[in-house]
């Protein structure tokens, strides 16, 4: 009965969302504020309705209603309650409900704002967000129903269906299959919501962009209204990606955080266009240029968000056949195609009105460098998209399955990322409007010289690897540029206002949050780059089978096998845990690690959890690969030394603060008329 109620609510919500679309269009066309208001209220109703349906689903998950197929697939009696709740987004059907729930929440939030100055946007924002919500609800209702129940037909077959087939009786499995053990990690519990939050937040700027195109109000108002949404979307998406990386590092047991898997790339692609968009909108705000391009970027981001959601859960890109068999595949592609074509058609329709208001004066101006930055992000996107799609095309055309793996992506994207880093150093010092080689050179030489000095030092003390040295030079360069920028402005403030260093710094950042938040983000990116460079260039590994008290040496570490034990852990998992002692080169004891293998009987799956010893210099990462269960005298260990990798996680935390600074509300940003900022003197100080 509960399943029917949950499903029924979803059907009602779907109808309400469609009504909202219809009423908004009708109200706008007939100039009837009453209908637009009705559409707004209908849209506001979707969130409580989906919440109710979601609550029903969670209740079914928590109370072991295994007669519901989704509950059977993602939970088991042994699972703790919190995992049963998070299983909501652990399977495809539930995660689509989760997506719709988030979408309706964000759409409600945005429609609750004051619309006085921008009332013309309202109906179209409702239309876009409600269509998106309705699409996901439609997928749930027609293709991936989490409330479908098991039925046993007269010939003994068990089928999942919402309604009882003829002559069938309800079927009640004793226990469920349990959540995929890989998804029971804290990182994986938070990672999907973060990613989805990022995905859904990007729908809001897209909705405003469409509203701007439809209404013909093509100035930068839509950008100013959604700037913070975009930043939050970027924050969530970035954090989702980082959490996914951390999860992979802690759970997948291959000593890395990023494997260029299509599912990872699916989440990375909207991040690329989103990042390009974040930079590109600044050109429109400051100089009134690139209006077409910004529209195209946000349209691409929206399409990639939908595409990413599709790939993340369905795994259809593994094979053409999987795609053909997938019920939601064609629906997704039809939706992406329809929205993309409609959006591009709107851009073409408004093309003349989207012309730039000024002209570019210099190839070295900040807007020109931002454009180059956009080209680089788009280049990485092309490589990623093509790498993900090509195996499908190959299978379709030649019947041959191919793998486009890390070697391809790493080789193709490394130079692009290096150039992006270089731009990260140069662009903040170039001026809006006009810059010359001379002015740029004057601004940059100190940082370049300091970076060269650091690189020289590293050459003599740390590495002779050319790639690493180039990377370290770029990192040092960007860090110096940014730190000097902070120092110059703080010192100026200290002198002018007679403030101490900390007051001056805090006031400076507080009054220019966007700019200095951006700088903090740049610095955090460089810290992350240190980690990436470290693990990519300097990672070493070894594997060996050790008797008790036997040792394995790697780099400056020696790992000694001390003991092994088996016991039943929480969640009824069978844990095999080794104890290894860690020693340095001189034989000094550094501590012990506990690599383990967890076996989940409900899912019949192993998980290899590493023992890690993180320091700022490196991360010792020990895996228990195998052991002899009878004698426990021998065990196989795989050991990685991942130099500098922890800077990646440190950078990610600083990155979070950077976005908080940049996205923190500034009162004046909403009221400054669009044109006033464009008539300022071009200078590097912006």
């Amino acid at each position: 009965m509960l399943a029917e109620i949950g499903y029924g609510i979803l059907v009602v919500t779907f109808i309400v969302a469609l009504y909202s679309v219809g009423a908004a269009i009708y109200g706008e066309r007939k100039k009837s504020p009453a209908f637009v208001e009705s559409a707004r209220r209908a849209m506001l109703l979707t969130w409580p309705l989906i919440s109710l349906s979601a609550a029903t689903l969670i209740y079914l998950l928590v109370t072991n209603h295994f007669e519901v197929s989704f509950v059977y697939e993602v939970t088991s009696r042994e699972m703790p309650t919190y995992l049963k709740v998070t299983a909501w987004w652990g399977g495809q059907a539930g995660s689509l409900v989760f997506w719709s729930w988030l979408m309706s929440a964000f759409a409600s939030l945005v429609t609750l704002r004051k619309w006085d100055r921008d009332r013309e946007f309202l109906p179209w924002v409702i239309v876009v967000t409600s269509i998106t919500t309705a699409f996901f609800l439609g997928l749930v209702i027609f293709f991936e129903n989490p409330f479908a129940r098991y039925w046993q037909t007269f010939d003994g077959q068990v089928v999942a269906s919402m309604f009882a087939p003829a002559n069938a009786t309800a079927f009640f499995p004793q226990d469920g299959r349990g959540l995929n053990p890989l998804l029971r990690h804290p990182g994986m519990i938070i990672h999907p919501p973060m990613l989805y939050l990022g995905f859904v937040s990007f729908v809001i700027p897209y909705a405003f962009a469409m509203a701007a195109l439809i209404t013909g109000r093509t100035d930068d108002r839509w950008i100013r209204l959604t700037r913070r949404w975009t930043l939050w979307a970027w924050l969530f998406l970035s954090f989702g990606l980082v959490l996914g990386g951390r999860w992979a590092y802690d759970v997948l047991g291959w000593g890395g955080y990023w494997g260029w898997d299509p599912v990872e790339i699916a989440a990375f692609m909207p991040w690329l266009t989103g990042t390009a968009f974040l930079h590109s909108v600044m050109i429109q705000e400051k100089r009134g240029l690139l209006k077409h391009w910004n529209m195209i970027l946000i349209i691409l981001t929206y399409a990639l968000v939908i595409f990413g959601t599709f790939l993340t859960r369905s795994g259809v890109l593994s094979s053409v056949h999987a795609f053909a068999q997938s019920a939601i595949g064609p629906a997704f592609f039809a939706f992406i195609g329809a929205t993309f074509i409609t959006s591009i058609a709107l851009v073409i329709y408004r093309w003349p009105e989207l012309r730039g208001e000024t002209e570019m004066k210099s190839m070295l101006s900040r807007e020109a460098l931002f454009l180059l930055n956009n080209l680089l992000f788009m280049s990485v996107l092309v490589i990623c998209f093509w790498g993900v799609i090509f195996p499908l095309i190959s299978e379709l055309v030649t019947g041959q399955k191919v793998t486009v793996g890390p070697p391809f992506y790493e080789r193709a994207t490394a130079p692009l990322f290096a150039t992006l880093m270089f731009l990260m150093g140069v662009a903040p010092l170039s001026a809006w409007g006009n810059s010359t080689l001379l002015t740029l050179g004057r601004a940059l030489w100190k940082s370049a010289l300091a970076a060269l000095a650091v690189t020289g030092l590293l050459f003599f003390t740390y590495t002779k690897n050319a790639i690493a040295l180039i990377g370290f030079f770029l990192i040092a360069f960007v860090l110096f540029v940014t730190l000097i920028e902070f120092w110059r402005a703080t010192r100026a403030r200290m002198n002018a206002q007679n403030e101490n260093f900390f007051t001056a710094l805090l006031t400076l950042v507080g009054r220019n949050r966007r700019r200095y938040g951006g700088y903090v983000i740049h610095m955090s990116m460089m810290l992350m780059a240190i980690g990436i460079l470290g693990i990519e260039v300097f990672q070493i590994q070894t594997q060996g089978t050790l008797p008790l008290d036997g040792s394995l040496k790697l780099g400056e570490y020696s790992v000694k096998y001390e003991s092994i034990a088996q016991f039943t852990g929480p969640d009824n998992r069978q844990v095999t845990r080794a104890v290894v002692g860690v020693y340095d080169q001189k034989g000094n004891y550094l501590g012990e690690l506990h690599p383990r293998i967890d076996y989940y009987p409900d899912a019949q799956q192993n998980m290899t959890i590493p023992g890690e010893r993180p320091t700022l210099r490196d991360d010792l990462y020990v895996l228990l690969v195998d052991w002899q269960p009878v004698s426990a005298n021998g065990a196989t260990f795989k050991i990685f030394v991942n130099p500098l990798v922890n800077w990646l996680w440190i950078g990610a935390i600083i990155f979070f603060f950077g976005i908080l600074i940049a996205a923190w509300p500034e009162r004046e940003s909403e009221v400054v008329p669009a044109r006033t900022k464009r008539v300022h003197q071009p200078s590097a100080a912006d």
Partner: protein, 166 residues
Amino acid sequence: MKNYLRITHYALLAIGLALLFTAQRNQTALAQNPTPTDDEVNRIAHQLYCPVCENTPLDVCPTEACRQWRDLIRQQLSQGWTEDQIKQYFIDQYGVRVVGEPPRTGLNWLVYILPPAIILAGAILLFRALRAWTKPSTTAAAPRSKKEAPKDEYVARLEEELKKRK
């Protein structure tokens, strides 16, 4: 002439014996290959992708099937197979998907050609656009300025003021 022939025969015999000896030496060396270490196995397995799981390198794939494939690599190494031979064996058995990059043949060339071509086209487009924008335009600016022409005296004055401030 006879002497020359005899010398040639002896020379060929010597070369043949030398080749045979070398081959035997090699075979003996291969047969006596010590058991390969895990690292040697993993070095090759790392370059191969699990034929069953998607996008998982063979050296880290935890499935039983992959464990057996790693054992097979160990066996092949101990029999003296080279890295290329082992890779080729896996390609023959499971298709080209077991290598991390599509081989550079036929349609697969598209993987390597298309992205740089698109990026290059984008770069050229951007460069040309930047050049066009940074050039003082006369023809392009005229119609736009006409379109944006101020409608009354006040607006004209305002525009003038704004231009001065720029």
